[in-house]
């Protein structure tokens, strides 16, 4: 079983990139974490969510005009805790799907970020240098991490849409 687990990792598919909520946290969270946004944020999320695609590592990507904006999901930012530093790549850097492209340091730990797609970084969110907490406060909006070109559009088909991601999160809770 151990060998299979190792092989699974090597053979490209995703595994959860961030910790589960600890049992104590689960007891106090009366609502699922992705509903912890304020009603206003929730409606914004719903409007955008049809365009959002998610990875099993809790990153999201939204494609507009051939450019993908990448961030981490509400589940991820909640599990991460307060982000204190964002280590992001350089503009122009090429990324392979699932390649480590940076790290977020939070009060909980340093966590690597994995690219949801293959492409080239076109922009990084410079607001995060002064205000890393945006990742927690507005993970789907002002807390975006990078923008990138879409080198292999077919990769998007392999990502989860909102309903599939919600289902995925439910399965993790079990």
């Amino acid at each position: 079983m151990a060998m299979r687990a190792v092989l699974r990792c090597l053979s490209a598919n995703f595994s959860p990139g961030l910790p589960q909520l600890s049992p104590a946290a689960r007891l106090t969270a009366t609502r699922p974490p992705w509903r912890s946004c304020s009603p206003r944020t929730l409606s914004t999320t719903s409007a955008l969510s049809t365009a959002l695609k998610f990875t099993e590592k809790h990153e999201w990507v939204r494609v507009e005009g051939g450019i993908g904006t990448v961030g981490i999901s509400s589940y991820a930012q909640e599990a991460l805790g307060d982000v204190v530093y964002c280590g992001l790549p350089e503009v122009g850097q090429s990324l392979e799907q699932m390649e480590e492209f940076g790290a977020l340091e939070s009060v909980k730990a340093a966590s690597e970020l994995y690219s949801p797609l293959t492409g080239e970084v076109t922009e990084i969110n410079t607001e995060l240098a002064e205000n890393p907490g945006l990742v927690n406060k507005a993970c789907y909006a002002e807390g975006w991490l990078i923008k990138m070109t879409i080198g292999k559009p077919e990769e998007l088909d392999g990502l989860m849409d909102q309903p599939a991601y919600d289902k995925f999160l439910k399965s993790l809770e079990e």
Binding site: M1, A2, A5, V6, S15, P19, S22, Y85, E112
Partner: protein
């Protein structure tokens, strides 16, 4: 702690490590023949025989990358010869005194976990708790340490804070924590001050140079103490045994401590090259978040006159991207201060590199101008720590 002959220990370790890597044939034979496996369901305690900070950090990464931690957890105990260890996103120039460290032969290491800067020596015990992400629980890990201490020295007032420090007598920090979450699993490691050299700690953990502006993660300085100063009979071995026992008690394991040698390439393939990467300049200094240095340089002139120059440098990935030197042009022609700045751009932010780059410049001048240029060069090199 179980005593075993050297050969038995080595074969026991090899079986264990093959087991960990999921080699099926080995594990089947181990299951039937090894008393070790039957007595350690779910937990493993390893003790590194290396005191090299880079090897031990590489050992942590090796375990994290190669061992299936979904079904089992590991406690790794290790200590290093004197070294300064900074967190993943820290700035070494602002966290520690690099010139003093160089003179004392104390190396700098950047770890992969977050958090602040610590001074390691043989009187500091490092504990790394490896688990699956589901089982990640730092408070519980620290409870292992505090419960162990309370059991063997009930008179000690120790508790873990919200910041995940362990504090003695309500005021002295004896332990700090940091952690890393990766693709498959997690580790949480912490220090524990048994008998470290506190004056060396204070000397090394000071900035190298003034005027650093950066948004790198800062350390939170704390008053520290050694356990030995407050529990003078607490031997190192007794502390280790207590921690191992408490780890087993807390998580209902029955693990026996096994010695491992990270320098053993057969047991840990790839570890040496990982250690080499951690030793390299690109990782240690090159991973420093962008920062700038803004400082005033004092320039002695004729008689007792002192002029002052403004130095501003932008450093990215440890390399000087931009350098501006504002020197009064009655002290030195702008042409020369401009050339000096120019020579630094593209160089590593390093006093030695700067000094070497300046020698060519200095050769071109002579007399009073050369003296003044040399003074300016020396001041810049000093400002770089």
């Amino acid at each position: 702690m179980l005593q075993m002959s050297c050969d038995a220990v080595m074969s026991h370790i090899r079986r264990t490590l093959s087991l960990l890597r999921g080699c099926r044939t080995f594990s089947q034979s181990a299951r039937s023949t090894s008393t070790f496996f039957s007595s350690s369901d779910g937990g493993l305690v390893l003790q590194s025989r290396s005191t090299d900070v880079y090897q031990n950090l590489a050992l942590e990464d090796w375990i994290e990358a190669n061992v299936d931690l979904q079904q089992r957890s590991i406690l790794l105990l290790w200590r290093n010869r004197p070294a300064v260890v900074i967190g993943r996103h820290q700035n070494p120039w602002s966290e520690c005194n690099l010139p003093t460290m160089r003179r004392a032969g104390i190396p700098l290491a950047r770890r992969r976990s977050g958090g602040g800067t610590v001074f390691h020596d043989l009187g500091n015990l490092n504990l790394t708790f490896f688990t699956s992400k589901k089982a990640y629980d730092r408070q519980r890990n620290l409870k292992v340490v505090t419960d162990a201490l309370r059991r063997i020295r009930p008179e000690l007032d120790v508790h873990a804070t919200d910041r995940l420090d362990i504090v003695l007598n309500g005021r002295f920090k004896i332990s700090g924590s940091a952690s890393r979450l990766s693709r498959k699993s997690s580790y949480h490691h912490c220090t524990l001050l048994h008998s470290a050299d506190r004056s060396a700690l204070a000397t090394m953990l000071r900035p190298s140079c003034p005027g650093i502006h950066s948004n790198a993660t800062p350390s939170v300085p704390s008053l520290v103490a050694n356990l030995l100063d407050h529990a003078p009979t607490l031997q190192w071995e007794e502390l280790l045994d207590a921690v191992v026992q408490q780890y087993n008690a807390e998580f209902s394991f029955s693990a026996v401590s096994a010695l491992v040698d990270p320098a053993d390439e057969a047991a840990f393939p790839g570890l040496s090259s990982a250690a080499a990467e951690l030793r390299g300049w690109d990782w240690t200094f090159g991973k420093t978040p962008k920062f700038s240095v803004q400082t005033a340089l004092q320039l002695p002139g004729a008689g007792s006159a002192v002029s002052s120059a403004q130095l501003v440098m932008d450093i990215k990935s440890g390399v000087i991207e931009r350098c501006q030197l504002d020197v009064p042009d009655d002290w030195l022609p702008r042409r020369l201060s401009g050339e000096l700045s120019g020579v630094l751009v593209g160089e590593r932010f390093c006093g030695h590199r700067a000094a070497a780059a300046f020698t060519a410049l200095l050769r071109c001048e002579s007399g009073e101008l050369q003296d003044r240029l040399k003074t300016l060069c020396d001041a810049v090199v000093t400002a770089m720590g």
